[in-house]
Symmetry: C2
DNA sequence: TAATAATGTCAAAAACTTTTTACATTTCAA
DNA sequence: TTGAAATGTAAAAAGTTTTTGACATTATTA
């Protein structure tokens, strides 16, 4: 599962820490998800998409095979 | 987080068990998510949406407040 | 009605996500 | 080039999702 967090986040000039606060999760969580270390819960995915101004389906790129 | 799993699933004439098999999770997991017992992981949300023929953003209704 | 399929639910364990604390490395502006 | 901010990473603990097995209830259909 790929994602477009970094590109959207940086184009909004937000740090991982700022996004973390807006999502009410830790900075490490944002870092891990951005770097594809594990899948977030759906709830967090929605919060992230909301903050980054896109739909969940636009933020995460699902790969049917994995 | 509300969802439209049941209505889509039944309109496809699929049982919870059949959907579970297609998603490669247990029947109890499908039942719990359908009945809003807890949020799925994003990966499962994508598998479900895919099987039910909709986008994640169409399958789950995010409520900014919760 | 009786049998069968489908759904709801529970508890314990397994698996996974997230937090916390801490430190290393990279980036960027002064 | 130095200092500060941002990012990467790790390990243990906490929290949440998912599995498994089991049984009860509700729906469906013969």
């Amino acid at each position: 599962m790929d994602n477009r967090i970094r590109i959207l986040r940086t184009s909004l000039k937000l740090s991982q820490e700022e996004v973390a606060k807006l999502c009410d999760v830790s900075r490490q969580t944002i870092n891990a998800i951005e770097n594809n270390k594990y899948d977030p819960t759906l709830h967090l995915a929605f919060r992230l998409a909301d903050i980054l101004g896109v739909k969940v389906d636009e933020l995460f790129i699902y790969n049917k095979s994995t």
